[in-house]
Symmetry: C2
Subunit: 182 residues, 2 copies
DNA sequence: AGTATCATGTAAGACGTTACATGATTAC
DNA sequence: GTAATCATGTAACGTCTTACATGATACT
């Protein structure tokens, strides 16, 4: 259900094609929502068939931009005001962290260093995007909040990885043989 | 694929039944990984059939605890050391934030207040769990890092929600009629 | 005796990914 | 002219959720 809402949110902000949306899912929105092109295109057709978005005139290179309809906007508002957010998440970095005691401290540190670099790089990207917003546009004012959530999360993740590197440095080697379990 | 790894991670830490795992997914691990009982039970059967975990003696009330095998531990280590974490995420709170300009500021604030309360409540829960860890156990040492990641993320989310409430207070009402799009 | 919790499952359908396919335009 | 990028899709398969089903034990 929320893929529909993600598409409506993007198209409500400004008219976009499937291709535009796929680029957003690979970039800015990677920490918010994501979907593959093969899921996006059929869903856009369905949204158009349901009257929540409307195809604009075909652009260059077979480009098909969509704009939101009144009913689409109404649906988006209803979702926001009458339902609660689902807070369950899947975060592979933290999942791997829970299993980190099974590998050598050196390997655990390699993993944490990789995460640290990743989060730092993303952080720089988000800050650039945030500066490019036009705060006279209502959709960009909301995007400022969304990107700020990303910035703060990435800062937290980076400082966590730094802290964790220090902690893992104090772990003993896992060379002690386990009891026979296999 | 990662559900398998989540189950292996939990069972590697200590023997657990499907019921135990479901409780973790509803509690501590909600911000890490989650799955419904209907997905967990069949996956445990498959892991056992593949020799990565092994059923222990049946406990009270038809309880079936599993323990990890040598091959399961080897598989877990290989996953950690030879593959990279997938960083794509789905976060409904931030998704909704990007659409927040479509509703009245008062409604946006109600949403942010709800998020703030939610994150604060969860934070208290995680801190209690963190204090209950036994740092002589390797699995608990890794769990300390995992829970700390959660604590820092929740702190970041709560302080973001507070900041966002202040920003939204400066937004003008959305009563201005939009151009005819439907 | 009745309710809550413990404990495990099956079947159908919705959602998401991987593999494959096609053609137009732009840059070198 | 050839490679990269733009742009949209279909089919098969795997993952996840919803609805439904069952029975044992503990608490009041």
């Amino acid at each position: 259900m929320s893929l529909r809402m993600a598409l409506l949110t993007l198209i409500a902000g400004q008219p976009r094609s499937g291709y535009d949306i796929n680029r957003e899912f690979d970039g800015v929105l990677m920490f918010v929502w994501h979907a593959k092109p093969t899921q996006v295109y059929p869903e856009l057709k369905r949204l158009a068939a349901d009257g929540l978005i409307r195809e604009q005139d075909e652009g260059p290179r077979g480009r098909r931009p969509y704009e939101i309809t009144q009913e689409g906007l109404r649906t988006l508002r209803e979702w926001l005001t009458t339902t609660s957010a689902d807070h369950s998440q899947r975060n592979e970095t933290v999942l791997r962290t829970f299993a980190l005691w099974t590998v050598e401290p050196a390997e655990a540190q390699a993993f944490l260093r990789e995460e640290l670099e990743y989060h730092r790089a993303r952080l720089r990207g988000l800050r650039v995007l945030q500066k490019g917003l036009d705060l006279d546009r209502p959709a960009d004012r909301a995007a400022l909040l969304g990107l700020e959530a990303g910035v703060r999360r990435l800062e937290a993740a980076a400082s966590w990885a730094e802290w964790a590197l220090g902690v893992v440095a104090t772990w003993p080697s896992t060379t002690a043989p386990e009891q026979d379990t296999g």
